[in-house]
């Protein structure tokens, strides 16, 4: 090890000069949405901090944000193109992303033969890494098929929908005392998966699913008849599986048009600024889960968040997955640093980075201390519950607030730790 340090010092001129060259890190996120952009900010912040501290083992990092939006919504095709661009440039040694599970499903098969490290700050569909246990519906695609025999190159710093869906089921059933709900999903990989996981847990608890409806963004603009069918079937709450870029929160507004005031819950796809905007007039008491611990609830995270806010002062710059992205970027850079040592102080190969990432143990991030299993999943199995409330100082909430209604923000309520169950 001493030899390594000596070598690094010799080659790097003190180890902080950063004159060995540049290592590129990419991110593939739907930056057309506030959720995607605030996540990219977390990566940029981590990279900027690392470079300001003198880089790593003589290298500086260069960060490039790729956008996987097409026509205003995430697109797996755009994501694949972005990954191909990164694969085509040997300086890219890893990426943060993607944001959406459907994009990951398309990207893993092309990145895994190249041993290209992907760390998602927010993918929650369980089938990307593992099989789900009964009684939940089995996976319709399989992690092993996506990797087609290659060593795992995909990690995520958040937990999965087989915990996220049940967390909201527990919360609605036990805390909100709602025992009959209508379920609506947006027909996407994420939406179908999380609403299915919710439904299974809700029934296990003894609850009733009044009706489960699906819609597609391209074809639905009025949800009132769907909501009325829920109401008439006896629903006393609504659970939505989907994301804001599929307009999943407009039904929340329309519940008010119907004069139907019952609890509304969903997954991390609705814990966003755009969701609050879509619900205009009926923002309060939207309940949402997030597949990780809340950074603002962790005492040790405060200094990082404060520094972030100084660097990114915009009202919507901080989001539900900003700190997860920050941790993911630091985990990646740490693995690259170890891989540089493996390569004798030179630029490592992608396989060296992948193999070091796979050895990550006890990585201390802002959110917690991460261990990853061989599938790429984190040992942190915390799901947070948020609710939209009126706050006096948005900076003291999660920071996820409306654009028009800047005082209506997601506020942390509680968390479920499935690792302790």
């Amino acid at each position: 090890m001493a030899l390594m340090v000596a070598f690094a010092c010799g080659g790097g001129g003190g180890g902080t000069g950063g004159n060995k060259g540049t290592i590129k890190i990419g991110s593939d996120l739907p930056v057309c949405t506030t959720g995607g952009q605030s996540t990219a900010n977390g990566v940029k912040f981590a990279v900027d901090q690392k470079n300001a501290a003198g880089g790593l083992n003589g290298y500086t990092f260069s960060y490039q944000s790729f956008d996987d939006c097409r026509q205003g919504a995430y697109s797996a095709d755009a994501g694949v193109e972005n990954v191909q661009t990164m694969l085509g440039d040997p300086k890219f040694l890893g990426m943060i992303g993607p944001y959406n599970s459907a994009v990951a499903k398309a990207e893993i098969p092309i990145s895994s033969p190249q041993h290209f490290v992907m760390i998602s700050p927010s993918n929650t569909n369980p089938c990307l890494t593992k099989e789900v246990a009964p009684p939940q519906a089995p996976c319709t695609y399989h992690a092993a098929d996506l990797r087609s025999g290659n060593a795992n190159n995909y990690w995520r710093v958040v937990t999965t929908d087989d915990y996220q869906g049940p967390a909201m089921a527990d919360y609605m059933y036990k805390t909100l005392n709602v025992h009959n709900v209508g379920v609506l999903d947006d027909s996407t990989v994420f939406g179908v998966g999380i609403s299915g996981a919710f439904e299974t847990e809700f029934k296990t608890l003894g609850g009733t699913i009044a009706k489960h409806s699906e819609y597609q963004k391209a074809t639905t603009s009025d949800w009132k008849s769907i909501l009325l069918a829920f109401k008439n079937a006896g629903a006393l709450g609504v659970y939505v599986g989907g994301t804001d870029d599929q307009n999943i929160c407009i039904p929340r507004k329309q519940m008010k048009d119907l004069g139907w005031d019952v609890p509304f819950g969903g997954g991390d796809g609705i814990e966003t600024t755009d969701c609050i905007d879509q619900a205009s007039g009926n923002e309060l008491n939207i309940n949402a889960t997030s597949a990780g611990a809340d950074a603002t609830q962790i005492p040790g995270a405060k200094s990082t968040i404060d520094a972030f806010r100084k660097a990114f002062p915009g009202a919507n710059d901080f989001g539900g997955y900003t700190m997860q992205a920050y941790d993911a970027a630091n985990a990646l850079m740490a693995a690259i640093g170890r891989a540089i040592n493996d390569a004798g102080g030179n630029t490592p190969t992608r396989e060296q980075v992948r193999s070091e990432m796979a050895k990550t143990k006890g990585f201390v991030g802002v959110i917690g201390t991460y261990d990853f299993d061989q599938n790429g999943d984190t040992n942190l199995k915390i799901v947070s519950i948020y609710v939209v409330q009126s706050v006096t100082d948005p900076a003291n909430s999660t920071g996820v607030c409306g654009k028009a209604q800047t005082k209506l923000c997601f506020v942390w309520k509680t968390q479920f730790d499935f690792a302790k169950k």
């Binding site: 057309c32 949405t33 506030t34 939006c69 026509q71 205003g72 919504a73 027909s187 409806s213 699906e214 819609y215 597609q216 391209a218 074809t219 639905t220 603009s221 009025d222 949800w223 009132k224 008849s225 769907i226 009325l228 069918a229 008439n232 804001d244 870029d245 307009n247 407009i250 507004k253 048009d257 119907l258 004069g259 755009d274 905007d277 879509q278 205009s280 007039g281 028009a404």
Partner: protein
């Protein structure tokens, strides 16, 4: 009665019986869904009229029409921003704003649509029919692109300035009705009535009907064809602009590619009622709105699109001229 006719009536009867059964099981819900369907249908009708008028006169499916409708909503939202409107409760300023913005937006959209016709369609008047059709699709993308650049991909908030909330909603025998539902239907009825009077009673309306029947003969009679066709686009856009604003006032949400879907549904309505036929488009719009609402509630929203476009196929197979008959230039 041919076999095809027989099948058509059987299918219609089956649908009516199934609906009637639902109406008997839960009449309150049935009426409630009907109210939603009528409100949605009224807006489809306003858009469908533009499709049918343009098709009637130059046999062009103006795919950009749905986006003219959406742009109407975007522009009215922008103009409303200049007023000190109150979204919490209804104020006099809201009323003034609505009364002023309606005609302004309609005229702006009329002007835009005339420009589109002049630039994109008129040079292709005598080209093969496929050429203006493709141009119309291109125009649709151009308009969507403009709205995308203007407000980005996320949904755009439209000020909620119609009277709403307690005091403007009531429950009649279990059916929840808001002022907004009534407003949408009443405005649509007024606009369609005005259009009918214009087409049937005015000189320009007569010229439009004549041009639709036989362009050459109309020209021989001294009708300015270019002016008449431009007028058709203008009037179609007046209705689309009003439709866009009504949509915004009703849903309070717009997004840049809303016109794609709404346009397809409105076009289906126009074919359903008999393309080129003005009362047909209005009735077709209302019926499609109702069918979509029934399907959302009684079947499942994932099947609604199948139902709507299944009807389009059914109409083309069983009733190629639509419910009220096609009215297009006779060749």
């Amino acid at each position: 009665m041919s076999l095809i006719d027989f099948l058509f009536y059987i299918i219609c009867a089956a649908a009516v019986i199934l609906l009637a059964a639902q109406a008997v099981i839960n009449p309150t819900a049935f009426v409630q869904i009907t109210v939603f369907g009528l409100a949605d249908g009224a807006m489809y009708a306003l858009v469908a009229l533009g499709y049918t008028m343009v098709y009637g006169i130059i046999e062009l499916i103006n795919f950009a029409h749905g986006d003219v409708f959406t742009l109407g909503g975007y522009i009215s939202a922008a103009i409303l921003g200049f007023f000190a409107i109150n979204e919490e409760s209804f104020s006099v300023i809201n009323l003034v704003a609505i009364l002023l913005v309606f005609p302004v937006v309609m005229l702006i959209m009329g002007g835009i649509n005339i420009t589109i016709e002049r630039i994109a369609y008129r040079p292709l008047r005598n080209a093969p029919r496929l050429a203006p059709l493709i141009t119309a699709i291109g125009m649709s993308f151009v308009l969507e692109g403009i709205m995308f650049l203007w407000h980005g991909p996320a949904s755009v908030h439209f000020p909620d300035i119609l009277p709403h909330g307690l005091g403007y909603q009531t429950t009649i025998a279990g059916v929840f009705v808001t002022f907004k539902d009534g407003f949408v239907m009443a405005t649509a009825i007024v606009l369609v009535t005005l259009l009918a009077i214009f087409i049937n009673r005015t000189k320009l309306g007569k010229a439009m009907r004549a041009t639709a029947q036989d362009r050459d003969a109309a020209q021989l009679m001294g009708i300015d064809i270019n002016r008449t066709i431009a007028a058709t686009f203008f009037i179609g856009a007046l209705l689309a602009g009003a439709g866009g604003m009504i949509w915004g006032l009703y849903f309070n949400n717009l997004f840049y590619n809303l016109g794609f879907r709404t346009g397809l549904v409105a076009f289906t309505s126009a074919v359903f009622g008999g393309i080129g036929n003005i009362p047909g488009a209005a009735i077709g719009g209302v019926l499609i709105g109702l069918i979509a609402a029934y399907s959302d509630s009684y079947i499942n929203s994932k099947w609604t699109e199948v139902v709507i476009f299944g009807i389009l196929i059914g109409v083309l197979v069983f009733r190629p001229t639509g419910l009220l008959g096609m009215r297009v230039p006779e060749k």
